[in-house]
């Protein structure tokens, strides 16, 4: 990790190491491509694993994404919740998340990066890892992240006339709008059952 921090230099914003488990680093958006070059060139991270994004703005429709009319408190839509970030923190709504791996030293690193702007923009990784091509197309259509310098930013899964970015949290799950999902009932306790019987490690979180 120390050598990783040295190699990344000023670009490193924050990092977290879970010993024996995983490594996360968060880098500056301006140094997104340099990070990839450093990881591939100096750290032996030749293997491109995946690239995606996380939308940290919780859904305005609530957890179940049911239609408002089906909820008990069908009043005003709730005020936008505060953003809470996960490991290595964050500053912006959209975060890029990528993972590269060293197939010889058997070490993988998650790289995160905050994206500014609307639509959020980032530089493309395809110049370093050609495999990032499809992953960036997927992130572009699912999250609306614009990758500067990408050779062919076209729809991957969705029809070319599709509008919207489905994996953004404010994109409604249309099936749930039509019909609330009955499956959510399954996790409620059956009448007469008591959660306490599960013992001392019961659920109180």
């Amino acid at each position: 990790m120390a050598s990783l921090a040295d190699a990344l230099g000023d670009a490193l914003v924050s990092s977290e190491v879970q010993p024996g488990v995983d490594v996360w680093v968060r880098v500056d958006a301006g140094a997104w491509v340099e990070t990839a070059q450093t990881l591939q060139g100096q750290c032996g991270m030749a293997y491109f694993n995946f690239l995606s994004a996380i939308d940290w703005q919780p859904s305005p429709f609530g957890r179940d994404m049911d239609a408002v009319i089906d909820r008990e408190d069908d009043g005003e839509p709730a005020a936008p919740a505060d953003l809470e970030w996960g490991i290595t923190g964050g500053e912006q709504r959209f975060q890029l998340l990528a993972r590269v791996h060293d197939p010889v030293g058997h070490l993988g690193v998650h790289v995160k990066c905050d994206l500014e702007g609307d639509p959020p923009e980032a530089d493309t990784w395809t110049v370093v890892y050609p495999g990032a091509d499809w992953h960036e197309r997927e992130a572009w259509e699912m999250f609306g992240i614009n990758f500067r310098g990408h050779p062919n930013l076209a729809h991957l899964y969705l029809p070319s006339e599709f509008e919207g970015h489905p994996l953004r949290k404010d994109y409604p799950l249309l099936a749930r709008r039509v019909k609330p999902w009955p499956g959510i009932v399954d996790v409620e306790l059956m009448p007469g059952q008591d959660d306490a019987e599960d013992g001392e490690d019961g659920d109180d979180s």
């Binding site: 030749a46 996380i54 859904s59 050609p130 495999g131 994996l167 799950l173 959660d195 019961g202």
Partner: protein, 390 residues
Amino acid sequence: MTAPTQTRQMAYIAGQASDARVNVELETEGMTLNIGPQHPATHGTLRIIVRLDGERVISAEPVMGYMHRGYEKLTEVRTYPQVTTLINRIDWLGSFANEVPFILAAERLMEIEAPPRAQWIRTALFELSRIANVVLFLGDMGVQLGAITPVFYAFRDREFVLNQIEAVTGGRFHPNFDRIGGLKDDLPKGWVDETRGVLGRIRSFCDEMENLVSGNEIFQARTRSIGVIPADMGLAYGLSGANIRASGVDWDLRRDGGVGLVHDQLDWKVWTHPDGDSFARYWVRLQEVREACGMVEQILDGIPSGPVMAKVPRIIKVPAGEAYVETENPLGIMGYYVVSKGDLVPYRVKIRSASFNNVSIVPWVLRGVYVPDVISILASLYFILGDIDR
């Protein structure tokens, strides 16, 4: 004094003309060939638009999305135990293996560990799904190249493996058997002995394939030095599984990953091949089926006794955090990046499926090959459409 110049000029013009004539004679017409969406080589509905110059491929562009089911969005509205039902359907030939990394990621966030017996049975089912999956590939590879017989052998012998999976889980294709903290149930009576018999059949199936297919002259001519993927290209595109090991990269997460399963307690070998061509990918998979048979046999001998379920709360709430777990699935590396906010449902699940990366190299590897080789390369890369589209 103009004569030499004129002579030279005439010679030049004649040369131009003859060049032009040759060009005209050999000019080939560009053509666009559409492969799929319904094609036996596409394992589902993958469409590939191939631009040809004569018999040679200039560019190939896969078109996906015919089977996109939006699992990453759907996981955000399912509780953790319900998610396994969805992810069963990603790689439908080796379903149980899909559940394992997700369950392991949830267990890591909850800081629960499955009891040893559950881990051993998990590994046995994990390897059985690999056998069921790859056996079909071995037969299918033959049928893509015009040999019909192997696929019937493959379907015949795969059924025995599916029967064993069904005997434990109740489902041939979608077991939905793995639980956070262990397994749904214990093994049925007599299963261990029956499975030994089935593994014997699979071993003889592998020998049959070796006799029927591997040494066949036509098969060799159609696969040797076809679709060569150098190791550095494979790594940069994120290829995994047998595809990257066939390019000489000695990397297998069952040996090098070390999460949750008991592969490190078994005696087995990671097979690699230096060539990186279609034949190498076929050959590595054939050896891996044999290794998997050996692994399951060792597991059957060594399953410890004890419970199959750890103590978990009835309502599963996963503490806030992020975890990424990847395992070496039949098709390659499959991983789940789970973001939890301490709720009943995951906040975000990134599904890193093997075939998506494996197929992303298709435009690169198909450039410059001949049309019949397109099929042999696609077949040897071995993808499942559910695993690409998710």
